[in-house]
């Protein structure tokens, strides 16, 4: 059933990462991404790799499931590896066969790229998407970006749209399923024929879905007006995000991680790209 798809890939839990402030986690994600790209030497990459897997362990997420989740990225990794392996020219030739030349530098680049991609995806999802509920995430973005309101960027409206979208994903998924069933019951054939035939077969599903979404939007807007909604001005929140000492500690840990990358790059410049 489509309904059972885990939304936003959030895994509920109680680890340090789960409990820290979503705003802090957004900041940490940014810091993390920056330092992933700053790693240059072998030891910096090793440090990055170790740090990312420590995060995974600290988060107490089901490691097997998370690693399985990397499957879709394998393709990208494979392509990067092939490009780096065959197209990098260097001095230390390892292998030669007709027009294929593999240099030591190529192998090194390939390994670095694997680490970089894996850490980037694993790290950001462990810090943010796997451990933060979509609702908290939206709140975090809204409150973190709220200074932008001063320069007339509609931060509140954006966050409101996001949270309504989140709220309606399961509803619309269910509705799509219902409409598909209704049309199948009238003999609609959704699974055979060429591309054009299949695209045409979607019309009986997309039109009702579109019509009903408009109706829902209309009713929701009325309901929101009835509940005194009039934009972000003068609005308070039940839950105010508060930084806790936990967040500070986490921040220091990430600062140490960043410093480590820089120091390793500078002081042990072994196999630098």
């Amino acid at each position: 059933m489509m309904r059972d798809i885990t939304l936003g890939q959030y895994f509920p839990g109680t680890s340090v990462l789960h409990r820290s402030d979503p705003r802090m986690k957004l900041i940490l994600t940014l810091i993390f991404i920056v330092f992933v790209f700053l790693a240059k030497s072998l030891w910096a990459y090793v440090w990055l790799f170790v740090f990312t897997f420590s995060l995974l362990i600290v988060s107490r997420l089901p490691v097997k499931v998370i690693l399985k989740g990397l499957k879709p990225v394998l393709f990208i990794i494979a392509i990067t590896v092939i490009f780096n392996l065959f197209l990098t020219k260097g001095e230390d030739l390892l292998f030669e066969c007709k027009f294929i030349h593999i240099y030591f530098e190529g192998v090194m680049f390939a390994v670095y790229m694997i680490i970089r991609i894996v850490c980037l995806i694993l790290g950001t999802s462990v810090i943010l998407t796997y451990t933060t509920s979509p609702v908290d995430l939206t709140d975090g973005i809204e409150q973190l970006l709220s200074p932008l309101k001063k320069i007339k960027i509609p931060v509140h409206e954006f966050a409101m749209m996001m949270s309504i979208a989140l709220r309606f994903i399961p509803t619309l998924t269910e509705e799509t399923e219902k409409i598909m069933n209704a049309q199948k019951a009238r003999g609609a054939d959704l699974s055979s024929g060429g591309l054009i035939k299949r695209a045409k077969a979607l019309i009986p599903i997309l039109i009702p879905l579109f019509v009903s979404s408009l109706r829902r939007a209309d009713e929701l807007a009325t309901a929101m007006e009835c509940r005194c909604y009039r934009g972000g001005d003068g609005r308070t929140r039940m839950k105010r995000l508060k930084y806790s000492p936990r967040d500070l500690v986490l921040f220091l840990v990430f600062a140490a991680f960043g410093t480590g990358i820089i120091l390793l790059n500078i002081f042990i410049p072994y196999l630098v790209i």
Binding site: P134, V135, S163, I164, L166, R167, P170, T171, E174, R215, R216, E219, L220, T222, A223, M224, E225, C226, R227, C228, Y229, R230, G234, R235, T236, R237, M238, K239, R240
Partner: protein, 288 residues
């Protein structure tokens, strides 16, 4: 005593795409007292829902006056704050539970109204907890609404309104999409809010057994108030209700038919239990 809600000769029409004007409400007048439980009965398209939206200024009448708490509501003379104060006072629960919940967490949804009112966080927290408790949904506070039953979702919607501490709640066919057990849950909640918290209730429905629970029934037909009386009186007028295209409870219909055939039975029976008693005493009479 001034009535809580008073409508005087209210007319409302809307324009169709082809430039035609459709009159939805024609000279509608009625009064509703504070704390009253009124059912508004009528066929689909009779103008019931339009009436509801006029009361909290989502729609504005073409002509006629509406008074809330003795004060006339009018888009011309009121400030935006006044309009929102009316919407706070007169809460609304709609038919489709899915299309009125805004958040993917139950308690955050209930908090939506009070947040819009600019109430301090601690106070919102308290109101949300109280409101969820009131509708018996406290244990679902952290749940996602999409996995709940229709009746539960509707109770969440009600909690979202209660949290704004309204004096009146309008239920616009709020039970129409529910199964029998969902209906029972919601009707029990409505009755409790009315009896225990003294909230004025306007329940729009075409279900006659729900209307029978009210203090008074207003029947709307073709944009006009066709009847307005206690349920016993309204339902006993079987002929008129039928001509409007509404049902009566089976027991009332039975008494209507039996009396027409010449049996000497009491009037105004709308309750199965009372009907049974009346029939029993009718058949026991000659033995005495």
């Amino acid at each position: 005593m001034t009535p809580f809600i008073k409508a005087e000769n209210v007319c409302f029409s809307y324009n169709t795409g082809e430039g035609k004007k459709i009159e939805v409400l024609k000279n509608v007048s009625f009064e509703i007292a504070k704390g009253e439980f009124v059912a508004v009965l009528g066929r689909n398209g009779s103008g019931k829902s339009t009436l509801a939206k006029l009361l909290n200024m989502i729609l504005v009448p073409d002509s006629g006056k509406i008074f809330i708490d003795g004060k006339q509501i009018s888009a011309d003379t009121m400030t935006e704050d006044d309009v929102y104060e009316i919407r706070r006072k007169i809460g609304m629960v709609f038919q489709n539970p899915d299309n009125q919940l805004v958040s993917s967490v139950v308690e955050e949804d209930v908090a939506f109204g009070p947040e819009n009112l600019g109430i301090p966080s601690e106070e919102i927290r308290k109101r949300v907890d109280d409101a969820l408790d009131e509708v018996g949904m406290s244990e679902y506070a952290r749940h996602s609404p999409h996995l709940l039953s229709g009746g539960q979702k509707q109770r969440i919607a009600i909690a979202g309104i209660i949290a704004m501490s309204p004096s009146c709640i309008v239920f616009d066919e709020a039970t129409a999409m529910l199964d029998p057990s969902g209906r029972k849950e919601v009707m029990a909640t409505i009755e409790r809010l009315n009896k225990e918290k003294g909230i004025t209730v306007i329940h729009i429905t075409h279900n006659m057994s729900e209307a029978a629970m009210a203090d008074r029934v207003i029947v709307i037909d073709g944009g006009r108030v066709a009847m307005s009386d206690v349920p016993e009186a309204v339902f006993s007028d079987v002929g008129k209700l039928r001509s409007i295209g509404l049902d009566v409870p089976q027991i009332t219909e039975l008494f209507y038919e039996l009396k027409k055939a010449g049996l000497d039975l009491p009037d105004r029976i709308i309750d199965a239990g009372k009907g049974e008693d009346a029939l029993l005493s009718f058949f026991e009479k000659p033995r005495n």
